[in-house]
Symmetry: C2
């Protein structure tokens, strides 16, 4: 009798408060050791954006920010901090919608999300907000390179953040940086068991991997890194840009 195919999602141990300049790969190895977890070939590492941004110093001290008129008006209308709104505007390449106190904008990476992913949660210091890593693929690649060198095998890395979606309530984890695996699986051109040609089946695997990892991370537990073990990923350089919808095909520009 064959055993049930299985994927495991494992949380590394708790992290110290991450501050700019810290050696994130070293902290990751220590957090694995803390829970007696030996990273192994085939593992995929999922790292929360927040600790990457903190280690890279992708933080803004709001005391250094002078709000523009638009930021000031929006903040007044919706009871927000005008300095934080100004940072949102600065991080935005394009405003997609403004309403209900939320700014949906496109970041310079091409992500469309609420408030340009500028976030005051889980940041030490009441006047600090975190930004997304400047080049989140490069951030993932740096972690991958350092850990792969230390471990002696290639360890793919996905950086995750929690984004809202239109139409559905609640946020889910998605990939914001990818290194070492193909972020999508394209079934187009293959046929199903009935011979039907699949024509719409491109799966956003990297997003599903980060959503799976979120289940073990939680929001309040201080476990910002997880391992997905047993998923047969496709090795590739990979880039989160593969997960961004071609504007020409996007009905919701």
């Amino acid at each position: 009798m064959p055993a049930a195919p299985e994927i495991r999602i494992l949380a590394l141990g708790r992290f110290p408060e991450v501050t700019p300049g810290m050696d994130l790969p070293a902290l990751i190895l220590a957090a694995a050791t803390d829970v007696d977890l030996t990273l192994a070939p085939g593992d995929i590492l999922i790292v929360t954006q927040k600790i990457v941004s903190k280690a890279e110093g992708a933080l803004v001290d709001l005391r250094t920010v002078t709000p523009s008129d638009l930021a000031q008006r929006w903040a007044t209308a919706w009871g927000k901090d005008p300095r934080q709104i100004e940072v949102v505007l600065r991080e935005s390449k394009r405003i997609v919608r403004m309403g209900n106190g939320v700014i949906i904008s496109e970041t310079h990476h091409g992500f469309v999300c609420a408030n340009a992913a500028v976030d005051a949660s889980n940041v030490a210091g009441h006047d600090l907000v975190s930004l997304l890593p400047r080049d989140s693929d490069a951030s993932a690649q740096q972690i991958r390179a350092a850990l792969s060198a230390a471990l002696g095998f290639d360890l793919p890395v996905i950086i995750s953040d929690s984004f809202g979606r239109p139409w559905r309530f609640g946020i889910v984890n998605v990939a914001v940086g990818v290194a070492g695996l193909a972020p999508i699986i394209d079934y187009r051109g293959q046929t199903d068991p009935h011979g039907y040609l699949l024509n719409a089946s491109v799966l956003a695997i990297a997003d599903e991997l980060t959503s799976a990892a979120e289940l073990i991370m939680g929001k309040l537990d201080g476990r910002p890194v997880a391992v997905v073990r047993g998923y047969p990923y496709t090795p590739a350089e990979g880039s989160v840009s593969e997960l961004i919808l071609d504007p020409a095909r996007d009905l919701f520009r």
Copy 2:
């Protein structure tokens, strides 16, 4: 040294071709036995929509469908089957967008998705398309009730389907029916380790659970049911309606 917290995603065995009137709970128990998997308290069952729709007979024989003028024109413009487009229009409460050959519409359940989730893939018979279950929460509840009675403990059930998203390329699994667990976790009002009041953190757990399950199901492997083991869900009656964004708050109506 504490062990790494862990969640397991397990695939049940392969299913026979499901046809209307089949006893899906019995098939699920058999598919668990096939891979020596003993369902246990704390497990969450994720069931692909397609087999639920097939068992319920939520199928349309396109030979019985007369396309409307709109369906005919759209099908001609984009090289589609006008009868299938007619079914999409019938399954739609509201058209959200039409473009690039895709109809984004709101189903009577309140889901916004491509082509009202009408699907010709993985259906036996070239003139058959599948619909979403009429009342997908009730479908989940029926499976939950039958399996819970057979097993002697409560087994929450989520019915999943693959939906596209604006802005991001690729489809991901989401919940379309829920029974036996709270589909969201609301962190609002709680504070992070730095004392910051979380104000936007409502996690769509049921969607993340289905995305995790998709990783083990695949599209071509004939494994339409998975178990998530070790996730500390909140028992509740639950409804997928909790995952539908209040139209008043949706900037993308």
